[in-house]
Amino acid sequence: MAKEYLDPDETGKQALLKILNLCRTYIMGEMRVPALQNVSFDIGRKYPEFVAIMGKSGSGKSTLLHQLGFLDTPTSGEIIIGGKNVLKMSETQKARFRLERFGYVFQEYALLPELTALENIYLPAMALGRKKDEYFKAAREVLGQVGLGERLDHRPREMSGGEQQRVAIARALINKPDILFADEPAANLDSISSKQVLELFRKLNREMGLTVLMVTHEPEDRNYVDRVIWLKDGELDKMEEK
């Protein structure tokens, strides 16, 4: 894993992810709705961070995560990874970048219902062009990391919410990403499963050096993270170091 923050530039430590004046405005008919306004911050300057993005409903949390994860395109601003403004990449380059360096976990698990748990997990590895024995090996590794060893031949609808979310996390990890984006990953889970998911993120961050950016609205989730980025009305409200 090439972590850019391990290579300091002449100005000091280089952030893994840096965003500058990020704006996202939605146009609805003749109305312009600013969802994000001039948001700037760094992630992973000193070490792999576990960061929570928090704020009230409609504050722009998920919108911000979507911009950072290339799921949506900002109206203006820069997203710099490894010193490069990645927004200048073509769609094909972005897709490749996403596949190689990002992992995603969504609130509704977002698994493909026609695939088994195992197939869902190794799909991104297949998409990367890895050989069958390689992606099976990688799948076994991530299954160990997320603590899921059974029911792999079951399809998502035959699994519990906690199991489905762990499949989704395993899928996000299979290509050994630099950053894991999680959009309210525990919102649909019971308290026990929710705790397991957050502990797993913490473990992945601490032990595997994975940077995790998580949108959440649960105040107690702050206990697991290094930093909280608070948003308010689409703007950066405050930073809360833990």
Binding site: L112, P124, M126, A127, R155
Partner: protein
Amino acid sequence: MLSDHKLALFLAQKSITKGNKGTLGLTIFIMSLVFVNSVFVSSLFLGLTNTINDQIINTVYGTVVIEPKKDEKFIDDVYSLKQKISRVPGVKGVSAQYIMGSVMSYKDKSGAWSVYSINPDDEITVTTTHNFIIDGEYLSKLDENDILLGKEIAGGYGGDDESRSLGGVKTGDSIDVLFNNGIKRTYRVKGIFGVNFQRSDNIAYISQKEMTSVTGMEDKASQILIRTEDVGNEGQFIKQFLELGINEKIKPWQDYASMVKEITQSFDIISMLISGIGLFVAGVTIFIIIYMNTISKRRQIGISRAVGIKESVIINSYFIQALFIVMSGIIMGLLIVFYIVAPWFIAHPLDFPMGSVSLLILPESVFINATSLIIAALAAGLIPSMMAVRETIIESMWGD
């Protein structure tokens, strides 16, 4: 690139095998019906045209016809001409016919028909009318007072225009025939034939010997019919006949089939229209099915793109699904055509005024129909999947 194709195949295979089997089965069945319909329509029209062509060759003209020279009424030296023609390799039969107009009467019914004189021994080498005797017997060379009537003349045998017939003449009955030259004869009806082709069933035959006694002319003919072993190479035979020094007019059977040409052209247009509409319906059907499929899988498409699967891979997977549906439909359609429809029509041909019509299924026609359906289906399958990946990932995953 190879891994992209493998991934597209993987996603398509999962969608087909793990998706809704009922919808998939119904879609394939609809495709098969569209294919059967297009093959059926074109094969039926081909069968109709083929039947007319066969009837013209088998019951009226043979494959090549010799007519009198320009400004002459008859062909002279018929015997020696026949000898010459018979010697050409590939000629199966030669029959000279003398044709005379007549008015036939039976009881209170009468009508105008042509009487053809033939040498029955020669005629059976060219035409197949002798195989369609529905009452009595065929003519023989020595018959003098006998006449063979087509069923349209005799009446009572299910002809197409009974009102113009003699109203039910049977074998053994006597009819009066007033020839164009004013000579009147009474003939015993020796037999009645029905080839189910109106043009042929309106002919009456007498022997050459009898015609000679009516006209007082020998070794003359109105036309000489030639039957070659194969149909389709008439041009080569005509060239050979010309090289033999035959100066009479020589025509291929197609020159007499102007009616068929018009019918064939009309059938081709109808066939194209019906096939075109069928293909359009098939295209729209596949479009709707794939469109509904992509709408219902909009979120899945978004998820696939979110995890990094390329748009081209997603489009390809839908392309493969459309290909699978249309190919399965064609295979099922072929089974229906060759194991159900074709055997049924062979056993139960349709009765048309030009004869019994069955399907004529030509490989090239099947190929064209299959290719057209594949193109229509793939185009219809591609458009909705391309529309689906044009949305942003967020719209696909969470849009309305």
